[in-house]
């Protein structure tokens, strides 16, 4: 039973409307792209769509109550909500430093969740992104 998928290419501002026909996991045809990148994008989106997830985790005893985090590499799109559950379950102790691994091997993907900003212990020094604002 062939299935039709409509996508918008994100590689450049043109935003080509892509039309993909799928038969289960096999791609039958890709139409609507104006360059190779569009073709590749449609293929990747239909076979293994991935996204980088950015969020925050709770911090105890920090001068801010949350620290910014992200997945080190893009993870499969279908895992985004489960990834959020993992992130929301976490609570770390200050100080947090940029690059700290917050969750190792997220959901068996081999991808870590890392801190993208620092949160020092409460009352010690300014948080780095508070100073940048």
């Amino acid at each position: 039973m062939p299935e039709m998928k409509n996508l918008i290419c994100i590689n450049c501002p043109i935003g080509c409307m892509l039309e993909v026909t799928l038969d289960g996991d096999t791609i039958n045809s890709i139409r609507g792209y104006q360059c190779k990148r569009g073709f590749e994008y449609a293929r990747a989106e239909c076979t293994n769509p991935v996204r980088t997830v950015t969020s925050t985790v709770k911090v105890k005893n920090g001068n801010l109550s949350v620290a910014p985090v992200k997945t080190e590499k893009p993870i499969p799109k279908r895992l985004i909500l489960d990834c959020m559950k993992e992130i929301n379950r976490c609570c770390v102790q200050a100080p947090v430093k940029t690059g700290d691994v917050i969750v190792e091997n997220l959901l068996g993907t081999g991808v870590n969740i890392v801190a993208t900003g620092s949160v020092p212990v409460a009352g010690k020094q300014k948080a780095c992104f508070a100073a940048e604002r």
Partner: protein, 311 residues
């Protein structure tokens, strides 16, 4: 100084004044820095990038984002954000729609959303009540220039920022401007880059290696289809690099056009584009050599040439 987000006051949306109405940037700060959720069911007005990113962020944190309304027939945000922030989470983007009324006394209880006609006037028959406890506004930024004005710096009516030259110097010698105070940027990388250039110029000015030349100036004008350019002035004697980049925005969505910089009838640079939109800043690079030959009285014009099938 920098930019302020356009608020409800700047939009004149009628109705009550309950809590639950935030600019997208304020909501972003609450969620990302302080860990507070602004509400549970959300409508977003305006499709600016911060609004789109907040639609995803709030969805992931457990809120229900009902829709994003955009007054214009196209989004002002980047395509990437529409796909990855709205389409991924099945959040509808309603183009040609706006919020026409706000309901609720203590807390927001809902908004009335309506389609608009070609003159951007709401069509009353299409009005629809959407229950929600939070309204985010992502409707653009206004550069803040009270200090510049007090210092006697000449401002550009379109950018609402100072008129700057190729070294980011304003009309007052020794005052430099960069970032969102000069014009609103879409990507932070451009802001950092502009900041570096302004900083370098200011350092050179202080150390005396850069003496601003007030005489040989070339005016850069926005021609057909172009809303504004930065810089607005090029001082050809103060060129430090082999080229000068002109940043600009187009006035509307156009397809199959050429972006051109010319001096009189002499075309200095041109570039073909399949599609241009006001949401994406455009850049053309001019060789310094070409500029040396430009007559100051002719100036430069940045313009858009269509093949007669503009949109």
């Amino acid at each position: 100084m920098g930019c302020r987000e356009r608020t409800r006051g700047a939009l004149n949306i009628p109705g009550a004044r309950p809590s639950g109405i935030y600019t997208a940037g304020t909501a972003q700060k609450y969620v990302n820095i302080y860990g507070y959720m602004p509400g549970k069911s959300v409508v977003i007005l305006g499709s600016g990038d911060i609004g789109l990113i907040m639609a995803r962020r709030l969805t992931l944190e457990g809120a229900e984002v009902k829709m994003v309304c955009e007054l214009l027939p196209y989004s002002s945000g980047l395509t990437r954000n529409i796909v990855q922030c709205l389409d991924d989470y099945n959040i509808p983007l309603r183009l040609n729609h706006t919020v026409v009324a706000i309901h609720g006394k203590e807390r927001l209880e809902g908004v009335t959303v309506a389609e608009v006609d070609q003159n951007r006037k709401p069509i009353l028959e299409t009005a629809e009540f959407v229950p929600c406890d939070t309204l985010l506004l992502s409707v653009g930024l206004i550069p803040e220039n009270e200090l510049s004005r007090d210092a006697g710096v000449e401002l550009d009516n379109v950018t609402s920022g100072p008129v700057v030259d190729n070294r980011m110097q304003t009309s007052v010698e020794g005052i430099f401007a960069c970032g969102n105070v000069a014009h609103v940027h879409d990507l932070v990388d451009y802001v950092s880059n502009e900041g570096e250039r302004a900083g370098e110029s200011a350092a050179d000015y202080i150390s005396g290696t850069y003496v601003p030349d007030r005489e040989k100036t070339i005016a850069v004008k926005a021609g057909y289809g172009i809303r504004y350019t930065v810089p607005q002035i090029i001082r050809s004697k103060s060129l430090t690099q082999n080229s000068v980049k002109i940043f600009f925005r187009v006035a509307d969505v156009y397809k199959n056009v050429k972006l051109v910089v010319r001096s009189g009838n002499n075309i200095l640079v041109e570039r073909k584009k399949v599609k241009v939109t006001p949401g994406e800043m455009e850049i053309l690079e001019l060789k310094s050599q070409a500029l040396q030959a430009t007559k100051a009285d002719e100036g430069l014009v940045v313009e858009l040439k269509t093949n007669g099938e503009g949109q």
